[in-house]
C-alpha cells in the first residue's frame, strides 16, 4: 500500500509553521518514511491546476496554516477540503486567527490607506491601491480580493482537528502525525494538545502563592524579572493559567510572560474574555477607586488578551457602523 499522501498549505501566514515542520530536524526523515508529502508550496512547486487535478480525498491529511484573509486563500482551502481526508488547522492563525487576526480591529479601507498612503516609507504619489482586476495591455491582471475581516480556517471550511501554538510545538506535530497514521484520533474537532492549562507544567508553579492577589500590574520593563518566581506573582500579565499546556512553557523559561498563543482549554469559548476574567479577579481591590487604579495597570486589554484569538472571539471584529 503506498504511503499516505500529506499536504501542507499556508494562507495569511508568516511561514513560521513551515519552519516548525523543519524543526523536526532528523525527525522529518521518519515522517517522510511514513508519509509522502505531495503538496507543500514552500518546498514543492505546484500550480492550482495540479491540486484541482487530484482526486477527492487523495491526500490523507492536509495541514493548513495561516488565517483566511483573501478570496484566493478561500478558494484554495475549499479545494483542499475536497482533496483531503482530514483537514488539520495548523498553528494559531488557522486555529484562532493568530497575530494577523488583530487586523479585525480595522477594515480594508483603513488598512489600504495606512499601507499605501500614510505609512512613512511609502512613495505612492498617485495613491494607487491594489485592484482585483486591472486591465492593461488588452488583458487583465488579477489579484485576489482583500476582505475586511480575517477569518479562521473553521469559519471557511470544515476542520477536523486543530494543532495549536504560534508555531506549534514540535512534539505536538509529531504526536499529531503519529496519531493520524495510527488512526488513534480523538473525536472530530478536538485540539491535538493536552487539555490542561500551562501552569500545570510550568516549573515556577511552587513559587505561586495560594492567596495570590495583585496590588499592581507591572510591565516587564518596570522590574528586574526574577528567574525562579512565578511571573504573575511578580505582577506581570502572564496568561499561562488560561492557556493550554503542551509548549513546555518555552516563553516562561525565556523569562517572558505567556501571551496565550496555544489558545484556551476545551471548556472555554472565548479565550480573551476568560483570561480577562481570571486576571481581573486576582486584582486586590474592593472599592471603585482602587479597582480602577489596579485594573488600569493592564494596558491595551484587547491586544493583550486577544493577541492570537480575536477572529475566534465572540466579537471577532470591531463593530462597523
Amino acid at each position: 500500500m503506498s504511503k499516505p499522501k500529506v499536504g501542507f498549505y499556508w494562507c495569511a501566514s508568516c511561514g513560521g509553521c513551515e519552519e516548525a515542520v523543519v524543526d523536526l530536524n532528523e525527525g522529518v526523515l521518519d515522517v517522510v518514511e511514513a508519509v509522502d508529502i505531495v503538496f507543500w508550496p514552500v518546498a514543492l512547486d505546484f500550480k492550482r491546476s495540479d491540486v484541482e487535478a487530484m482526486e477527492d480525498g487523495e491526500m490523507a491529511v492536509c495541514f493548513i496554516n495561516g488565517a483566511i484573509r483573501n478570496s484566493e486563500q478561500k478558494e484554495m482551502v475549499e479545494i483542499l477540503r475536497k482533496k483531503s481526508g482530514l483537514i488539520v488547522a495548523f498553528g494559531s492563525c488557522s486555529h484562532m486567527g493568530g497575530i494577523p487576526g488583530l487586523a479585525n480591529l480595522h477594515d480594508k479601507e483603513s488598512i489600504f490607506n495606512r499601507v499605501y498612503h500614510t505609512v512613512p516609507t511609502i512613495d505612492n504619489p498617485d495613491g494607487t491601491i491594489p485592484q482585483v482586476e486591472t486591465s492593461v495591455c488588452g488583458t487583465t491582471v488579477e489579484l485576489p480580493e482583500f476582505w475586511d475581516t480575517v477569518r479562521t480556517l473553521n469559519q471557511v471550511i470544515d476542520v477536523d482537528y486543530y494543532l495549536p501554538g504560534c508555531a506549534p510545538p514540535v512534539n505536538l506535530i509529531v504526536g499529531a502525525v503519529t496519531a493520524i497514521l495510527e488512526g488513534k484520533l480523538p473525536e472530530k474537532g478536538a485540539v491535538l494538545a493536552p487539555d490542561k492549562a500551562l501552569c500545570d507544567e510550568c516549573d515556577r508553579r511552587e513559587s505561586k502563592p495560594e492567596n495570590l492577589c495583585i496590588d499592581e500590574f507591572k510591565r516587564p520593563y518596570q522590574i528586574i524579572i526574577d528567574e525562579e518566581e512565578c511571573l504573575l506573582a511578580q505582577g506581570l500579565l502572564c496568561l499561562g493559567s488560561a492557556t493550554r499546556a503542551g509548549c513546555d512553557s518555552i516563553c516562561v523559561k525565556g523569562n517572558m510572560p505567556c501571551t496565550g498563543c496555544m489558545g484556551p482549554t476545551s471548556r472555554v469559548n472565548d479565550f480573551g474574555a476568560k483570561a480577562l476574567s481570571a486576571m481581573a479577579s486576582v486584582a486586590n481591590a474592593n472599592d471603585e477607586k482602587d479597582v480602577k487604579r489596579i485594573i488600569g495597570g493592564i494596558a491595551d486589554p484587547v491586544g493583550s488578551f486577544n493577541k492570537y484569538s480575536l477572529p475566534a472571539s465572540y466579537l471577532h471584529r470591531k463593530v462597523r457602523k
Binding site: 501566514s13 508568516c14 514552500v42 495591455c137 504560534c166 510591565r219 501571551t259 491595551d300 493577541k307
Partner: protein
C-alpha cells in the same frame, strides 16, 4: 495583443507571489508584473499595541 503568461503562485519561497508576463505580438515581453497578493496590515494593527508585545508581533511578519 500578445500572449499573457501567468505564473501563479510562485513557490519555494516564503509568502505568496504571482507573475504576469504580457508578450507583445512578436513574442517579446511587453509588460511583466510581479504581484504580491499577500497583505496582512501589520502597519495598521501594530498601532495601539503594548511596546513589549511588538517583538512578538513583528517577528510574525516573516517566520523564516
Amino acid at each position: 495583443m500578445g500572449k499573457h503568461i501567468i505564473v501563479d503562485p510562485i513557490t519555494r519561497l516564503e509568502g505568496h507571489g504571482k507573475i504576469d508576463i504580457i508578450l507583445n505580438d512578436d513574442g517579446n515581453v511587453d509588460r511583466a508584473y510581479f504581484q504580491v497578493p499577500e497583505l496582512r496590515g501589520f502597519e495598521q494593527f501594530a498601532i495601539g499595541r503594548r511596546a513589549e508585545d511588538l517583538p512578538q508581533i513583528t517577528s510574525r511578519i516573516c517566520g523564516v
